[in-house]
Symmetry: C2
Subunit: 132 residues, 2 copies
Amino acid sequence: MNPLFHMLFQQQRVLINKLNDVLKEYDLFHAQWTILFVLHEQGPMTLTAIWKYLNVEAPTVTRTVARLEQLGWVKRETGFDKREKIVDLTTKALTAFPVIESSIIQFEEEMVKGLNESEQQQLIALLQKMKG
Amino acid sequence: MNPLFHMLFQQQRVLINKLNDVLKEYDLFHAQWTILFVLHEQGPMTLTAIWKYLNVEAPTVTRTVARLEQLGWVKRETGFDKREKIVDLTTKALTAFPVIESSIIQFEEEMVKGLNESEQQQLIALLQKMKG
DNA sequence: GTAATTTATTTAGCTAGGTAAATAATTGGA
DNA sequence: TCCAATTATTTACCTAGCTAAATAAATTAC
């Protein structure tokens, strides 16, 4: 196995586990947080808008949004087009958001503190270049 | 969300999907192939040796090895220490290995062809550095 | 205006990661 | 020696990707 690929896999798994660990305090998992983050950034979105934005498949988003609704982070309403469901943050989510976000930012800074600004840019550029 | 993290996540998902696509021809998934690869490299191993080597949790390996056994790629035998199971490749796996491996090598080369040797080294080094 | 096609979402079922706890065999200590 | 602790594996059950196919609503073509 190409050592670069192996490293990407390991790195990503470690990152997800650490992220989940930070989010544990708020009873969230990383994919759930990602959706809350996107909704906070973009405002109410349809399911299709979410999965296209995140570049994952529709059923994955359906499931995670359903879970977020159960947990009270999100509400779903049928749109004018009755096929689509519009997803929006609840007040619970809006209230909790800044606190969670600051935890995440702190974590992210901790994670990349081994790299200076230029190295981060370089890493992003190299990853982009690999996207053959 | 930190753009670097976001990119790592996307990259890894794209990579796994493409890998699975290559392996489809052989009725394998990437995690299954990884275990076959390790066994080919290291010879017969206990489950514990495998999950420590791959740096994943034991139940994940138990499940995947069980599936590989069902599919006839691998056999399990109890060791001298009756707690441990020793996993080994079947003749089917040994026969198919070179063919699959060459597909994978070709795929890997295709994937990194946007990067020259020094860029690959650089990328590995930067990822390593992030491992805070 | 109705039938065919497209689009949005969901359901079912697979792989693959994780944790927590159960079981069985081995090892160590009093 | 025998009981306690450790170790190897498994089971049960989460999250989170994926594909394929079902359903329902909207759009298009005739």
